[in-house]
Symmetry: C2
Subunit: 233 residues, 2 copies
Amino acid sequence: MALEDTALSEQDFLAALRGLSHRYWGAHPFHHRLHDGSLSEHELRMWAANRWYYQKMLPQKDAAIISNCPVPEIRRQWLDRIVYHDGRHEGDGGAEKWLRLCEAVGLHREEVLDERHLAPGVRFAVDAYVSFARTQPWVAAVASGLTEMFSGHLMRKRVSDMLAHYDWIRQDDLSYFTKRIDAVSGEGEATLDIVLRYSKTREQQQAAIDALSFKCDVLWSMLDAIERAGQKL
Amino acid sequence: MALEDTALSEQDFLAALRGLSHRYWGAHPFHHRLHDGSLSEHELRMWAANRWYYQKMLPQKDAAIISNCPVPEIRRQWLDRIVYHDGRHEGDGGAEKWLRLCEAVGLHREEVLDERHLAPGVRFAVDAYVSFARTQPWVAAVASGLTEMFSGHLMRKRVSDMLAHYDWIRQDDLSYFTKRIDAVSGEGEATLDIVLRYSKTREQQQAAIDALSFKCDVLWSMLDAIERAGQKL
């Protein structure tokens, strides 16, 4: 029987996607240390400076999805993500909020923007993600964003844990996360809805599962490289 | 002396760009016939149905530019183009206005959307344009949009000429053009401003000139193919 004939039920497809949650970077040892307060100030800075590159590239990743998507309705919906990260005006948006977090942990804006602390492994992982969005079918690229299903819980925990353990960090410094928690409060429901609607055959479902698995690898690799960068002084 | 050392003055650079105006599709024989009222109804339909493919792909072309552009300010500015064509809601936007024009010249919406009338040469030209935006440096892709410098005059003339010569076409049917005239009323000034700002070396200037020349070829080829499609019944 061809793969197309044996599509998973929606329930099984969902279970396969959700079953990847243990590979989400919430489980990475570095994130555990971030949350339990055992990172050094240097490690915290390397984390913020390196993750900047990921934040910075998100609008370009999202535009690649729009560029590949022939469905106006989805394009209209996805456009909000670019606006979310870039903001409507200078000094607005998620990227700016990340820069403020960088400053809160003791980095100068210039040393973040000039990427002097950027670990090659982080750059490779993020570039792989952008390249995936540019070259893969748009539904797979959308599916790679399903890590949102796992991120709401992690970010809520992050805000309380970081405030509890790093006493020089104020609630305001974490506005990237508090704002983002609202944005993903549906636990990726809108994204999931698109993936379910456009993944009907077994092959399409597998492509979505593979895409989410790939994205987990991207995020995990970033933290591997960030962990190593934090060990160097 | 290396090319970089001999950058054109802004005036000469502008003159080189404007000097391509005779290659703009305003000069194509098919457009002359469109304007003087000598197209048959069939030719008019083939024109509208084929150009639909160009209109339809514009948001994906513009998203490719955003995907390749590392400058948030430019991305924010360029985003408006996607919104312009896709609209904020279903039934809104430039693409929808083009479909209404198709209906006004006697086509059913389905025969436009299923692309049954689409000439291969039109598809190839438009796909080349989208591919250019995806694969070339973003400034070159922006420069390819400088045909806007030439389009305002042509569109104003089109509205009056079409209303004068095709008596079954009403002003409302041409809202794509009347709305677009407003959008390009600055004669491509905002686009030109970006190109001037980011084309400082002779090589960058030449890339911009080449991009505009390429775009003229794209549009001209479309009309060549449309002209031939209109001759067949």
